[in-house]
């Protein structure tokens, strides 16, 4: 599904990613772990096309297409979704208008007619249940006045609405209490199919207990220095990153 080859990227002239190689196949969930500042969020931002980051070398192939040649909105239409570490508040733009604009833009990209308002609201009602989201929240402006947990829940709700094939969860567990974490993780699991894949960025084992990733990567100083099965996450939880650094000769 997603293939990243020798990816280098920088922000404000400072190189953050220094040669990432990563392949995610259909149906797989990969976790990326690493210390703060290792480049985890940069990697997710580069995949979704954040304009502040400059790719200096390498390529990202998504379902056979050159992802880096596409605008952020085109990448979204192709099925890429980022659950933001810090979802943005947009006062004055209602949740309904926001999701409908996104939803119908994707339909247009796929050559489909916009969905009728009635059908759309019905769909919203159904999808809301996946993350147990209150209708009170979907009638407000995007993320305005939402608590940290509600914002993250809203990210998964949007994922449910837009049905991406490849999702990135960027520290979706940060700022969540145990109950909210369970709801968000279970919501994500309900959306998984053999055709969807994900990258999960996290510092903690707890989220991974729910999501059960197939592969764990450790990102240090802009490079993936270790890749292993799910047992690696547990080991990191117990031993930290120092031993991996030593192993990698850093």
């Amino acid at each position: 599904m997603l293939q990243i080859n020798n990816l280098h990227a920088s922000i404000n002239g400072k190189e953050i990613l220094k040669g990432i190689n990563l392949t995610v196949r259909d149906g797989e969930v990969h976790a990326i772990m690493g210390l703060n500042g290792a480049g985890k969020s940069t990697l997710s931002n580069v995949i979704v096309g954040h304009p502040a980051y400059e790719v200096t070398k390498g390529e990202i192939i998504f379902n056979g297409k050159d992802l880096l040649a596409m605008k952020p909105e085109e990448r979204a239409h192709e099925g890429i979704f980022l659950s933001f570490q810090q979802p943005v508040e947009i006062p004055g733009v209602s949740m309904v208008n926001f999701i409908r604009a996104a939803f119908n833009a994707k339909r247009q990209y796929q050559g489909l007619e916009p969905m009728s308002a009635g059908d759309f609201l019905k769909l919203m009602r159904e999808k809301r249940k996946i993350v147990e989201m209150d209708s009170r929240l979907t009638s407000r402006s995007v993320n305005e006045g939402f608590s940290g947990g509600e914002k993250k829940r809203n990210e998964i709700f949007q994922m449910a609405m837009l049905e991406p094939t490849f999702s990135i969860l960027d520290e979706t567990d940060s700022g969540l209490d145990v109950d909210a974490l369970r709801i968000v993780a279970e919501g994500f699991n309900k959306l998984r199919t053999p055709q969807t894949s994900a990258i999960v960025i996290t510092h903690y084992q707890r989220l991974l207990d729910y999501l059960k990733p197939d592969i764990i990567h450790v990102l240090i100083d802009g490079r993936i220095v270790k890749t292993a099965g799910p047992e690696l996450a547990l080991e990191i939880e117990n031993r930290g990153f120092d031993w991996i650094k030593e192993e990698a000769g850093l």
Partner: protein, 406 residues
């Protein structure tokens, strides 16, 4: 005298007699004084504080044909030509308007007719009164429009004044509105400008409020050429409240200058002011709002906000909120902001698949939605949402849904 001003006094020298004949006694009685004021002051330069963001002489310089047509008022409840008003208009006409303003004086000098909206005591007008100004003409035309709104004690009304232009010629509108809001009266006054790039609008609105009266003035500049709106409110009765809301959307080379004064003359009054601008391309906006709290106007509550969005680096906004307080027991605040479209919000929307153009549009629309949402009249609120959306999409060429423009 400058050429810009001289052409008007020359015109009056020639056409004064005709104007007098077509007009009525109440209006004619004010002309001589207006002529003297205009000759003495001429058009204000930018050195005059209240005109510092607009070049008046330049706006009035072109050679316009001056319309001297009487109004046609047919079967409009509560609306009358000044000569047919059911009450004596002498205590009202030109009594609130600033006599030291040359632009106002020019209106008094050249106006042939005036519209009087008269709502008697204790009368609640059920349906909004809509005044449609439609500018038509094959030649460049100047219009001097005069409106008096007389709300007797405890009268209630909604008044909507719309400005539109049908023909693609230059129009100059010089409007003066005098509003007398009696004790306990409620007035919602809306002004919506939806003209075109060749239109220049000067508007001077003067409002006087009696005890426990409530006035809400909402101004929308959706499409224009050059616009200068002056709005003065005198709170003269205790317990009176005023809301001044405004919204401006401007792009290309459009200019919009709103200049307001809220004069708290007595105690226990409230004022709330919110003006929002969205400027694109090379548009220039100006907002100067002065709140004056006079000595003795204790327990005044006043809020003034001007928030602006410049979507390009070449759009310009001049903002000047002013608070002048001579009383010691008041609660007042004022502030202004000028910002750009949020990159974070823009990217968030694009990541969800909303194309950049559409995302920008939604963000601009969101910025001014607050002003529309504050409108108590549901039907007008819906219509303004539609008009604003079409305006931002660039689909508002002429007057949307207007029978005359089909």
């Amino acid at each position: 005298m400058t050429d810009s001003a001289k052409q008007y006094t020359d015109f009056y020298a020639q056409a004064g007699k005709l104007i007098g004949e077509r007009s009525c006694e109440v209006m004619n009685a004010q002309r001589q004084a207006a002529l003297q004021t205009f000759e003495a002051l001429q058009f204000p330069t930018r050195k005059v504080e209240r005109y510092k963001y607009t070049d008046v002489a330049a706006d009035f310089a072109p050679n316009y044909g001056i319309a001297l047509t009487p109004l046609q008022v047919k079967n409009l409840p509560f609306c009358h030509r000044i000569s047919e008003a059911p009450i004596d208009i002498t205590p009202y006409y030109n009594q609130l308007a600033d006599k030291q303003d040359a632009v106002v004086a020019l209106n008094t000098l050249l106006g042939v007719d005036a519209l009087v909206i008269y709502v008697p005591r204790n009368t609640k007008v059920q349906h909004p009164i809509q005044i449609s100004n439609v500018l038509k003409g094959e030649q460049d035309t100047m219009v001097n429009r005069r409106i008096l709104i007389i709300m007797e004690d405890c009268a209630e009304a909604d008044v909507i004044i719309t400005d539109r232009a049908v023909d693609q010629t230059h129009f100059l509108t010089n409007q003066v509105v005098e509003v007398f809001a009696g004790d306990g009266s409620h007035l919602n006054l809306y002004e919506v400008e939806e003209t075109h790039l060749l239109c220049t609008r000067y508007s001077s609105v003067f409002i006087r409020q009696g005890r426990d009266s409530q006035v809400r003035h909402t101004s929308f500049t959706l499409f224009n050429g050059h616009t200068r709106n002056r709005l003065d409110v005198a709170l003269q009765g205790e317990g009176s409240e005023v809301v001044l809301n405004g919204c401006v959307i401007a792009d290309k080379m459009q200019r919009v200058d709103n200049n307001t004064l809220i004069d708290h003359q007595v105690s226990h009054c409230q004022s709330n002011e919110l003006y929002k601008y969205v400027l694109d391309d090379n548009a220039v906006g100006a907002f100067a709002g002065r709140i004056l709290v006079r000595e003795g106007a204790q327990k005044t509550i006043s809020n003034e906000t001007n928030a602006n969005l410049c979507a390009t680096s070449s759009a310009r906004m001049y903002t000047q909120p002013m608070l002048e307080i001579y009383a010691d027991d008041v609660k007042c605040s004022h502030g202004s902001t000028v910002g750009q479209i949020s990159d974070a919000a823009l990217f968030y929307m694009r990541q969800r698949g909303i194309p950049e153009q559409e995302a920008r549009l939604l963000l601009k629309s969101a910025f001014i939605t607050e002003v529309i949402e504050a409108i108590p009249l549901e039907a007008l609120k819906d219509r303004l949402h539609l008009l604003v959306d079409k305006r931002l999409r660039g689909e508002l060429s002429k007057c949307e849904g207007c029978k005359l423009c089909k």
